[in-house]
């Protein structure tokens, strides 16, 4: 049983998807999705423990030995991302029941859970696999199901958003497949460890360079790195609340992990930097993303869209850590994957709670909401403080390590830029807090209650965790440092 944990993490949601479909009754399919997510979370937790004590865990699917067979290879980096994805899935599922019922009624809800389980399975598969083509297949499983999930939004604009994401996402995935194909044509292997060894033996060639370019652009499209982020704001704005929270907290995180894996484990980044200044390219894009994302967020009245733009800025921070190419910067990136997943997931859930009661996520309708739904609004503001990076929140920890990494690299102006862009976050969070707490509710507004406990508790679990991990960083920083060491040290 324990030897098969790596396979089970992916297989359980994969079996869960058709089970949801066959059961049809919405309560049952919800229960299947819930249990599937929780089991995956439990197994990811066990796997992380195993990786932390024993080092790398490998699993040969079907008993075929790597590099010929497909191998699952779990080190500290992907064990941590697996934990992030499955933890978010497990917390969001209890929330989903009420939220999904209020947003698209009772018909065909089982299909929603089927698509969710497939997306969940794909994201876990991308993270766990040690085979590049397998990574592409799982990436497409998660992408295609996420197009479906986004299209289920109430607003008809969700359809156009999903369509745009489909076109851009497919171009991104095709770029990745071209890159993988070119790598295969030069090295004759698809296994990540094997690729790393064989690429190191190759002299730099145009084919390798083209493969690298296709992969970086393709992954950046999935990651929504500025200027390839255009699909993201609409997709997050019009998707159902639960889907926005889930995708914002997991999909871009997994893409960031894939970028790390390709840059550090497969291509050795210091070798590439001799040929293409990839660190400078990423640095510039990351800094623009930080400022552009935050600045645009300030002017949004639709709060889901505001959070979406804020996500683009936060992706900037993650990529900034990568571009520093030192252990501290990488630690910051990896820990921010976790912290941002908690904060942004929690904030989208808080918006979901508010949308559940007032059917709107527009700032104008938020007047006095702080008194009408105190717990939900408090969760939103606490999450916002984390985005700003106020001390004692998880966001502070990420930014602290990010600034340390920049100083270590000798780039102190970058440290200043990080602080300045955080100040822009103060503005957009303050706008919401001001309207929510200091503007009186409009005359004759209906009395509304706090969101139901099944929605409020998951929201506060994520927000509470983001506060907890702002104080006790032993787990997050410990694992992230280990992951950074593995990535920088090579195949590990």
């Amino acid at each position: 049983m324990f030897a098969h944990i790596p396979a089970l993490i992916v297989v359980i949601p994969l079996i869960g998807a058709p089970s949801c479909m066959l059961l049809r009754y919405r309560g049952w399919s919800w229960a299947v999705a819930l249990i599937g997510s929780w089991l995956s979370f439990l197994l990811s937790w066990l796997l992380l423990q195993q990786v932390m004590t024993q080092g790398v865990v490998t699993y040969e699917l079907g008993g075929w030995v790597a590099p010929l067979g497909i191998e699952y290879r779990i080190d500290a980096a992907n064990a941590f991302v697996l934990l992030i994805v499955s933890a978010i899935g497990s917390v969001i599922m209890p929330f989903a029941r009420e939220s999904v019922r209020s947003e698209f009624g009772t018909s065909r809800v089982y299909l929603f859970y089927t698509a969710y389980m497939l997306c969940f399975c794909g994201l876990l598969g991308v993270t766990i696999t040690g085979d590049t083509f397998n990574l592409f297949v799982f990436l497409e499983i998660s992408s295609i199901s996420s197009y479906v999930l986004i299209a289920m939004g109430k607003d008809r604009r969700a359809l156009v958003a999903a369509y745009q994401y489909l076109v851009i996402g497919t171009i991104g995935a095709t770029f990745i497949v071209i890159g993988i194909g070119l790598l295969y044509s030069v090295t004759g292997t698809l296994n990540m460890v094997d690729l790393a060894v064989r690429i190191a033996q190759q002299p730099p060639s145009r084919t390798l360079g083209a493969a690298f370019g296709f992969l970086v652009v393709g992954i950046s499209l999935k990651l929504a790195l500025f200027p390839l982020h255009l699909w993201l704001p609409n997709a997050y704005t019009y998707a159902p609340s639960m889907v926005s929270a889930f995708l914002a907290a997991t999909a871009t995180k997994v893409a960031a992990y894939v970028l790390l894996r390709f840059l550090f484990s497969i291509f050795k980044i210091d070798k590439i930097m001799g040929i293409v200044p990839i660190d400078t390219v990423l640095l510039v894009l990351a800094v623009i993303a930080m400022f552009a994302g935050s600045t645009v967020a300030v002017f949004q009245n639709n709060l889901k869209r505001m959070l979406a733009y804020s996500s683009i800025a936060q992706i900037g921070y993650i990529v900034l850590g990568v571009s520093l190419v030192n252990a501290t910067g990488l630690t910051a990136s990896i820990v921010h994957l976790f912290n941002h997943a908690l904060m942004k997931g929690g904030m989208f859930l808080a918006l979901g709670c508010i949308a559940y009661r007032i059917s709107s996520v527009h700032l104008d309708d938020f007047a006095g909401i702080g008194r009408r739904m105190p717990w939900t609004t408090a969760a939103f503001v606490m999450g916002g403080l984390g985005l700003i990076g106020v001390p004692l929140t998880a966001g502070f920890i990420s930014k602290w390590y990010l600034v340390l990494g920049a100083l270590e690299r000798g780039w102190w102006p970058i440290g200043l830029l990080i602080l300045m862009s955080s100040l822009i976050a103060v503005i957009y969070i303050w706008r919401v807090a001001e309207v929510a707490y200091f503007k009186p509710a409009p005359e004759g507004a209906e009395a509304i209650e706090e969101a139901p406990a099944t929605m409020l508790v998951p929201t506060w679990i994520l927000i509470g965790a983001s506060l907890y991990f702002g104080i006790d960083t032993e787990l997050t920083i410990g694992v992230a440092q280990r992951a950074a060491a593995v990535l920088i040290g090579g195949a590990g």
Binding site: L159, Y163, L166, T170, G181
Partner: protein, 116 residues
């Protein structure tokens, strides 16, 4: 050089043609067709570099010693399935867009969104 590698030239042409259609056309169906051409070019790319000159299909048979590499061909079967699935979801979305907006032209749809 040019003639010997003609497959790769076809790949590059199809890839750019498909990509151009995706960017330049405002019709949602035409965009999907462009996307399919774009993906199709990658299929040809994989199949081409799996081919070994003078090689036959990889079936053990006396008299043949050189075989083409079957792995890229098998990989691309998977990619074709993925492409079909994407196309199906894309078309389903277009049907829903047509129901919701009464149009599948990008400009029309954006115009209606701005008005509402």
């Amino acid at each position: 050089m040019v003639v010997g590698l003609y497959n790769y030239w076809i790949v590059a042409f199809l890839m750019m043609a498909g990509f151009y259609i995706v960017v330049a056309h405002g019709n949602f169906i035409k965009k999907l067709v462009g996307l399919n051409i774009f993906q199709g070019s990658v299929f040809i790319l994989y199949i081409t570099f799996g081919k070994v000159s003078g090689g036959t299909a990889p079936i053990v048979e006396s008299g043949y010693t050189v075989y083409s590499n079957p792995l890229p061909h098998v990989l691309i079967l998977t990619a074709i399935v993925v492409g079909v699935a994407t196309f199906a979801v894309g078309l389903a979305l277009v049907v829903r867009i047509n129901e919701a907006y009464g149009s599948i032209e990008e400009d029309d749809v954006h115009l209606q969104d701005e008005e509402s």
